[in-house]
Every structure is written in C-alpha cells, then in structure tokens.
Symmetry: C2
Subunit: 270 residues, 2 copies
C-alpha cells in the first residue's frame, strides 16, 4: 500500500503550501499561536502523539523513512493527509541535525485537556520563567513519570517548541499542563483549594526539603535557572524549601532540582 | 594595569601558535589526551578553575571581556601568560554561540586528584556508556552537590569536552572522578571494599529504590540513555533498583534519574 504511494513524486520545494506551513510551525511560536497547530519531528514523538489520540492533520515522510520504519504505516493510517518529501527537503526543514524524515502537524491540545483541575489532595508543579527549552521538556517528562496531577507554567518557553517537545518525550500529551495564568493567580487558587505551595528558594527561613512535609496535597514552585524566584512570589507561598547540598557545592541544574523535588512530593513514605 | 596591555594589538589570526593550541584543545579529545591540557570557555568556569587551584597556563581575553568583567583581573593575575584576541577571532574559536571572549588553557587534573579512594562507608556513582555530554556534566554537578565521595565513568564522553565542562559548572575541579577503569573492575573493587553496587535497571527482581537500603556505604551504576545497562554488568551488581513511576509513564531522562538516585543515596534519614 505504501509502495503505491511512491508513484507520486516526493515534494522537493519549500514553496509547497503544506511544507511552508510545517516549516512555519517548527520555526516560530507566533505561527503556532495564530493557527492553533503545532509540528512534531521524529518517529517516536509522532507515534506518541497519534497514540495519545491527537488528530494528525498532515504527515510528512521521506521514502527512506517509510522504508526504514514499518511503524510509519501506523502514522499513515492515522493521518488525514500524507505527503512525500525528498530527503534533501527534510534536512532543510528539520530542527535536528540528522533528521529521520518524519514530521506531523497536529492541533494543539484543547483547553479542556490543558486545564488543570485543582483538588486538595493533588500534587502540582509550578514553573516560573524557566529559560531553557530542554530544561522545561525534561521537567515535564519527570513530572509525568512521578505522576503529578498537573503543571502550571508561567513565562516559560512555548510548550510546543520543538526542543521542549523533544526533551519532554511526548509527556505533554499525557500530562495536564496549563500556561495561561500568572504564577500569582495560580498560587492564590491553589492556596484557596487548601493546597500549600512551597517555593524552591534559598530564602531566609527556608526548610530543608527532607524536613518539610510534602506527603499530602501540595505544590512546588521552581524559578528561573539563573535568577531563581522573585521575592514577591516567594512571599506569596506557604513556605520556602531548599535541597540541602554538600559544603562547597553551589547549585543544581533546574531539571535535577525539579526531579528531586518531584520525587520528594510523590514518593511513598515508610 | 590592564589598560597598559591594550597597547599590544590583539591577535587576529588563527595561525598564532597559542590560538591554534586553544582551538585544538576545544575541538578534539585527541589533542587533550596527547598534551595533557584542556581548554575552558567563559568567565565563571575560568574563575572556578583558577579558584580551585588549577594552574592557568594561558588566558585569552578580548578587550571587551576585560572591560565588561572586572573579575578578569583575577584571571590575569592567576595566568602564566595573557593573550589579547579580537572579538572576531573569539567568535570563530568559541564552542558557544555567543561567547564572552574569555578562554583558559590548563593542565588536566593530575592522576592523584582524579583517583577515587574507596572507603566502606562511602557513596559512589558509576556511569557506563552515557552518550550525551550535557547529561554527563549535569550528573557530575548533581554528584558534587549531593556530596558523593567519587564518580567512576566508563565509556562516557571525555570529562574535559567543552559541553561536559559547561554542564558540570566546574564540579569536575572539586569532585574525585576517575575514567581509567572498566566498570567490571570498579564493581569488583567496590564489592571487595564492602560497598554494595546497585544497578539502576528495569531487571527481573529489581527493587523500588525507596525500598532498597541506600543509607550506608553504597554505589549506584547508571547506564546508557537509550539502551540502559548490559545484562552482564547488572548481574555483577549486588542488586538492581528502579525508580517507581506513574502508570503510563515510560522513562526519565538519565540526569533526572541520577538526581533522584543521588538524593536517595545521600539524604538524611528520619
């Protein structure tokens, strides 16, 4: 069945309407925001999106990709429209250095899915002005692995940026994430629901995280890689917590710190 | 004093002997292995190296870097030789996209410093065939922050590669790290010293890490990002441990997993 499709000459030009749209969605947040669509690259991410029930509007494949990965058949079945592109064009569009030649265009998750429902016994992660897309994606992946009930991002890289999607390994499709509200408003909503919010910050009076009680419903707020959290946000939280470090050590990578905090929030207590 | 030095015209050419050496050390492990030297880029890393007592053989500065960061005076004092380079040359040599225009050449840490002394009550991290230099550096940074007694790396990226140094934030200068021995030999030495080695692996019989006892002297072995650990190495370990994950979650980034395991090894028990 796939073989039949090769009778169509693969697209070589960036001027093709669909290819232009794909490149625009990979390249800029403005295009994603305006259209409500986003683009994915790579077999695993595309399969993950389709497997999570996201409609695949367009699938782009190189003949080599179809020949190398039989799983692309699944994508062809899921896609509303499949387009063949040349190896050379795939390389020019790709966000990665050595592309597999597989791309999808999907509608962004709808508001319903993106909305995080707050419950008193829930575990939440708040992210404020993270800068690095790789960190954001890695943290989303860890949040899903640790089973938190939702993530709120404020002033972070676009959730649908290619680097975020890649580092998140598709966890965005399976994790309630909202990036619509300012951190102040989210903290107020959480506290109103009886969920204490802990700021991860070296603030006066900050408690070592292993002495804080994160066993019940709670949220942790993590700030910018270089500058941490602004004082106003720390004061809005129930308390500040720190990860105790060895003498002479100065810091942890934001994603490493998030992994430890997520683990402390969700691990079983003896 | 710095001003006087500006009377010398900054070097513009890659053909300068010292510039050639710098570019070679940034660019290839072979050059680092052959010469026993390595190169650092950026104010913070260079200050860190000098502050940790590493001899700075050559310091390269652009006039702009010297004007922007008064701390470069400290580097000039520490360096055996300071060379001025043009902005344009700095951009061409740099491993980063927007360079600060600050580079150092230092001798690699000597064997004495690199050697990890094994004690029965110690905490150790073993890394086997990690692939990503960023992951390796992030893990070294977390290992130093959590205060482990030493790290053994086997088949990982070069500890002195620019990306590793950048992600490690200079923790390499303050953490005993050895990359001379095969993992099998290290496991045997640790077990002989009474230090049980736990393989982080989804192997049959693997215990959830929160049910394993990592409170005493112990070591954790982490494998390749995509392929994990080979069966032979898992069998050589005392036991296998896993980080319990939420249903539907498939994996954690290697550095996130390492952060959680390092935390579990070193956190205070109630």
């Amino acid at each position: 069945m796939l073989r039949g499709r090769f009778l169509l000459e693969p697209i070589r030009s960036r001027d093709n309407t669909y290819v232009k749209e794909l490149a625009g969605l990979l390249g800029s947040r403005k295009n994603r925001d305006r259209s409500g669509l986003f683009a994915l690259e790579g077999l695993r991410l595309c399969l993950d999106a389709a497997g999570s029930g996201l409609p695949v509007k367009q699938l782009f494949l190189t003949p080599r990709a179809a020949a190398c990965w039989p799983e692309t058949e699944e994508l062809v079945r899921a896609a509303e429209r499949t387009l063949w592109i040349t190896e050379e064009l795939a390389g020019r569009i790709a966000d990665t250095k050595s592309t597999q030649g597989i791309f999808c265009v999907c509608p962004k998750l709808d508001n319903q899915k993106c909305a995080v429902t707050i419950k008193g016994s829930g575990k939440y992660l708040l992210l404020h002005q993270l800068q690095d897309p790789g960190n954001l994606g890695t943290i989303l992946r860890a949040a899903q692995a640790m089973g938190v009930d939702g993530v709120f991002a404020d002033g972070c890289p676009d959730l649908y940026a290619p680097k975020v999607l890649r580092a998140s390994m598709g966890s965005l499709f399976r994790l309630p994430v909202s990036d619509r509200d300012a951190a102040e408003a989210v903290i107020a909503r959480l506290e109103a629901a009886g969920v204490p919010v802990y700021a991860a910050a070296l603030a006066p009076g900050a408690r070592p995280v292993d002495e804080a009680d994160l066993s019940g419903g709670c949220a942790v707020l993590i700030g910018n890689e270089g500058d941490g959290l602004p004082d106003g946000l720390i004061r809005a939280c129930a308390a500040a917590v720190v990860i105790p470090m060895a003498p002479g050590a100065n810091s942890l990578n934001a994603a490493s710190a998030a992994a430890i905090l997520l683990w402390e929030m969700t691990r079983k207590r003896p």
